[in-house]
Assembly symmetry: C2
Homo-oligomer: 418 residues x 2
């Protein structure tokens, strides 16, 4: 089927999806999870084909994103069941009041309609996104990256079989059958067919959407996250936070990419940093972190000289750009100029600097004395997550079910005129 | 100053605007209102020049939009004082919770940053938009239409003088000095400088934004509003509502443009409609409404045959397109295919049809037995209004102060890692 045919089917399915009762949605989600488990052998076979084709092209970090195992498929199914247990966001009356003339004005949560998601090589996005869209009464059009296409197709087949098991229209969940740039650009320009486009991926995809999207769009998932170590920081705390933010999962968007260090402590702190991220890790047989150092840092420790692009790059790898700054002012200015407005942290003992950093850093999540890795829908209490919005409109930070809805006003009267 | 210079100044002013205390904002708003009154003679002189230049080009309805009087300027000043009395939307903690590991997660309302507004020939938009942006901690860049440019400049000068009187940076409010298409397109593509673009105007402007905007954008103000008169409708109520929605102020976006009438009652209802909107108004010396009739309606009453574009046109004038439909299904289908998703009404005695219409019509405001003219921030209890959003993302329907903000998460800990 062509992408436009898929979009036409999605549009036609919207009214049906919006009309679903919570019980029916949850029944379908359980059946989708059942089917995912039942289809495990076929999904693994498809994933092996994807992995074989990608082996030469992708880094080990990216291959790990692509890999499915029985345990990971089980986790995807559990993820769907967890969504079933959340409250349905639609139909709720958000506010209601009566005007002096007797008119009753109700603000009601309603689905957006057709939600299109362009993503890359993580097959679990297929099931996560589909479950969240169904739960919020939306119809989804999924566009997987080419590297994960066979896996995404196998997962989608399972989910659609689950919808059919529940007696629902399988077109509530569709996968674009053309994983090329052409289909991405068709989705970006499908005015009247796509109510919300969510690109989940790297800088190239985000820029392509900014440049070309004519449909409403939320930019997610690109994280050039900063940690600033202030003069008054507890060094052990700072090291623990940096170690976690940089090395616990470098391929994710809330991982640290840039470290800013106060000039007054750089001489003592940076050698400790190098020992932890480079020497100790190498000794333990773990991948060492490559440090890309600005001039001042390079005078203190060994590393790679930072090029001009290194402070504007989402490495998603064991690489950390390091810059020495004069204080919280320069840190805030650097972050506001270079960050992707995702997550930034300050490590400090100064409540004044913590307050300034929290107020003036213009990012979705601002941390005081904690790891940037906490930016996550589950951690933030949303119960789930469609992605991390790095824009200011509609949703910022982790997007849960509520962020996949809009509202309408329903006004009832008995002949009122103005 | 060039538009890009204005944008650079706006960006530089953001941190200052976001940092303002409520008391200071309200003091500045009062001084802006004082200055507007004090500058009345100069503003009227500028407006006379605009009116003289526009006299040949604009319809009487559009000229009325452009006209300023002492009373209208006083109303603009009162509008600013009313904004001063509303609560400030920023700084509020929207939600807060503590994670099991002790992290405190706060969701805090914050300004968007630079809000750019492209509008047409209503000089009062200049003061309304500036007041709402300041109140919500945003910096505004106003781009008036050419027809109202002298008036907008005079109003902006007064507002900036008010900011200076309060000791604030006048760059919180700036007017683009080039009222041509070029500056509109500069605003649409100023990625990194414009946090939100609000086009307030007709179809051409909205389409230009959909096609060209690369910055986040909210489409407002285009209203092809429908009223559907169901078989069971109370005719007197229907006529009263239509008369109000069509003739009380035809130049506004919540005025009715299209009437749909159930086939079973069209033979009785349409002659009453024609008597009210055409014959009686002509007899009273009021402008008669031109009826553009589909084939079925044209067999019942006299009028202009409707052309294919008449059901997709925002007339903003004493013109009403009329179509006969088979029932609520056809009415809903027609509306969802032709409306701008602004405001639609059903007149009916059937609670079943009212419920279906409310649920299935995909518009910002859906009315049962009331005039579409109520779609308004003041009427909806928002206290004010920046425009009526006809899109689903971020804000739908009347946009008040809250809709001019975003939020950030501020997370405080004592060294937590994930």
């Amino acid at each position: 089927m062509t992408t436009m045919e898929i979009l036409a089917r999605a549009k036609a399915a919207c009214a049906g999806a919006a009309d679903l009762k919570a019980g029916k949605i949850n029944e379908a989600l359980e059946k989708m999870a059942d089917r995912l488990i039942a289809h495990t052998p076929g999904i693994l076979t498809a994933n092996e084909a994807d992995m074989a084709a990608a082996k030469e092209k992708l880094s080990s970090v990216m291959l790990d994103r692509l890999l499915l195992t029985e345990a990971r498929i089980a986790a995807m199914a559990e993820g769907i069941r967890a969504v079933a247990k959340l409250p349905c966001p639609c139909g709720a009356t958000l506010s209601s009041h009566r005007l002096p003339n007797g008119l009753r004005v109700r603000k009601v949560a309603v689905p957006l309609g057709v939600v299109a998601i362009i993503y890359e090589s993580r097959p679990n996005v297929t099931s996560d996104a589909a479950a969240l869209c169904l739960k919020s009464g939306n119809v989804c059009v999924l566009r997987s990256g080419r590297d994960a296409f066979a896996s995404a197709n196998a997962v989608t087949d399972a989910l659609r079989a689950g919808l059919a098991d529940a007696g629902l229209n399988p077109d509530f969940i569709q996968l674009v059958q053309d994983p090329s740039r052409r289909s991405a650009s068709e989705l970006m320009t499908a005015v009247g067919y796509v109510d919300l486009l969510i690109p989940r991926g790297g800088g190239g995809l985000i820029r392509a959407c900014t440049e070309n999207a004519k449909v409403p769009c939320i930019q997610t998932g690109m994280g050039i996250c900063h940690i600033y170590v202030d003069r008054s920081a507890d060094f052990d705390m700072a090291l623990r936070i940096i170690n976690n933010a940089k090395t616990s999962r470098p391929s994710v968007c809330n991982a640290e990419e840039v470290l800013l260090v106060h000039r007054d402590i750089a001489g003592v702190f940076l050698p400790k940093l190098k020992k932890m991220l480079v020497d100790d890790r190498a000794a333990e047989g773990k991948p060492a972190v490559e440090l890309r150092l600005d001039e001042a840092a390079a005078k203190i420790i060994d590393g790679t000289p930072a090029g001009p692009a290194d402070f504007d790059t989402e490495f998603l790898d064991y690489i950390l750009a390091v810059r020495v700054v004069d204080g919280v002012d320069e840190a805030i200015a650097h972050i506001n100029a270079h960050s992707t407005h995702h997550s930034e942290a300050i490590v400090t003992a100064s409540s004044r600097n913590a307050a300034r950093f929290s107020r003036e850093v213009d990012s979705a999540a601002v941390y005081v004395n904690a790891s940037t890795r906490f930016t996550d829908g589950g951690e933030f209490g949303l119960g789930c997550e469609m992605g991390i919005s790095t824009q200011k409109l509609h949703a910022r930070g982790p997007m849960g079910l509520r962020e996949l809805t809009t509202y309408k006003y329903v006004i009832s009267g008995d002949g009122q005129i103005r």
